[in-house]
Symmetry: C2
């Protein structure tokens, strides 16, 4: 019964990881932030200005992305610079954006 041809149901943990990751990519605010970070690292305020969002909105969503380790940050004084931190997921996002753009 461990023949890979038998489609077993996914175990709970795998299901959780997969759906959580996709959930991160299912919100316009988060996708716009991740898309901005393709270029380079940005501070929280710079993200907010660029995307015309409130600072708290950006910070909330960055926390979400940080918890899933999709972004990382470095401190410089009081400024936090955020950047991507998961090559695989970033790749998946880029693929999907290209797919959507080319149609």
């Amino acid at each position: 019964m461990d023949d890979p041809l038998y489609s077993k149901d996914l175990d709970e943990e795998t299901l959780f990881v997969v759906t959580q990751t996709f959930k991160a990519l299912s919100d316009p605010t988060r996708v716009r932030i991740l898309n901005l970070l393709f270029e380079k690292e940005y501070s929280v305020n710079d993200i907010a200005e660029n995307l015309k969002m409130r600072q708290s909105t950006v910070s909330h969503q960055l926390r979400f992305l940080k918890n899933l380790r999709l972004v990382k940050y470095r401190r410089e004084g009081t400024t936090m610079y955020y950047s991507h931190d998961d090559e695989h997921v970033i790749n998946v996002l880029q693929q999907m954006i290209q797919h959507a753009l080319h149609h």
Copy 2:
């Protein structure tokens, strides 16, 4: 300003398509259904039995997936057989599952 090095914000339609697609993959019920369909086509009731879900739950989620053209169906009498209908998205899902499994 159309230098691709300048990270422009995503246009509204692209953003919608991308986030909607990922939203489809962000729910455990839908992912379990799509995962089951990797093997072969299934009827609504067979999906419900296999995954121990209510018929209405399965039908609702199939409608969601059908609207996004992630699944298609064929009729045989009163039975509807559902199967995958978007190679790219299915590929992305499989990638993510493998990524999650191998850690």
